[in-house]
Symmetry: C2
Subunit: 229 residues, 2 copies
Amino acid sequence: MTEHIFDPAQPDGRNATIDSAISADGRPEYGHRYVIEARTGRAVRCQAGDLVTVFNPSGHQVCDFWAFRDPNLPEYMSMAHSHTALESIMPKVGDKLVSNARTPLLEFLEDTSPGIHDTVIAACDLPRYRDLRVEGYHDNCTDNLRMALSAIGEKAPAIPAPFNLWMNIPVDGHGGTQWAAPVAKPNDRVVFRALVDLIVVMSACPQDITPINGVGVVPSELAFCVDRN
Amino acid sequence: MTEHIFDPAQPDGRNATIDSAISADGRPEYGHRYVIEARTGRAVRCQAGDLVTVFNPSGHQVCDFWAFRDPNLPEYMSMAHSHTALESIMPKVGDKLVSNARTPLLEFLEDTSPGIHDTVIAACDLPRYRDLRVEGYHDNCTDNLRMALSAIGEKAPAIPAPFNLWMNIPVDGHGGTQWAAPVAKPNDRVVFRALVDLIVVMSACPQDITPINGVGVVPSELAFCVDRN
């Protein structure tokens, strides 16, 4: 029997992400606004103290957001460990997101949106679109993560549960979840401070079947900027 | 600067788990009731179709529960992916828990308890006890996972978010979580069917500071049994 071996670093297909590195090693030009084209992802190498701002031009676009320690990528931002640290599944301004070794990685500094984000849902991937009856390749956040890291010379050590910025997943009293549209406004932004050296990866989620990117189900672009503190 | 490199397979200390393998390769004697001593963990190698029953003798003991595909351990049960599949953070009888590649791994067949379990909180680890101001070594579920796999000749490829059986983490309407005592009764049990070949790891959580193992904060033993279907 041939058995598919799961390799966290290996994309199931490809899109423009693989050719969209912001620089060969992912280091940013400070103060430059980088666009993340709809359905793609980008990685950026941040130094401790840097400020990372993520912009939501349309207001209805979800950003799958990951952070890996640089150069020790097997230590990465963990939603499950952050839930313990924050005693909440809804991070808010003032909170520190932690790694799978409980290291504080990012401080949540600013949020112009109503503060509705998701920390319980996995990044979409090709099997998810298979489950949604898509045939052929479909852009997906998991492959965008893999390609964004590959594009700067790195490999995904795992597919961590992402911090899904602006993703609106109401959880009811019995634990049930819904796929709801973002409640952000056009040009809302969030700002984080890197507390250690990090590689941050962002994917403009290409989900165009459920309404998580708005009731129009049209994925749109995001943007980000890194500033020295 | 010396920098600690995070290695998911490397325990931060040791306890009896390392000497408690049920057999050299983790294969069970079908129908045998294995005890998981308080504060320790054990791994068992299951074949597709096997039934795994976990018993809660005290009724107030949490079981951190993981599943890894055998022999492809980098594919493992994922709470984040299961949330998507189940549209819920509270798995219940009839549900199928899935892997980080969306493969159904386990079917939840039976639950004699009130059905309150946790899927959002990370396994405890030595850094968690440091955060709780414990000095020196403290038994922890993450090390139990690492040692239980090591004891049967395997290595943890990551520290997945566990399915925390009987752990009672109420989530309020704003996403806030609480550390509550289990609501199970003595001798409650849950039963799963392995849908593929798996290594299942269970840890009798040694948390003795928060009340998640009961208001008496005294960790107790668990037991399990594997039966051919």
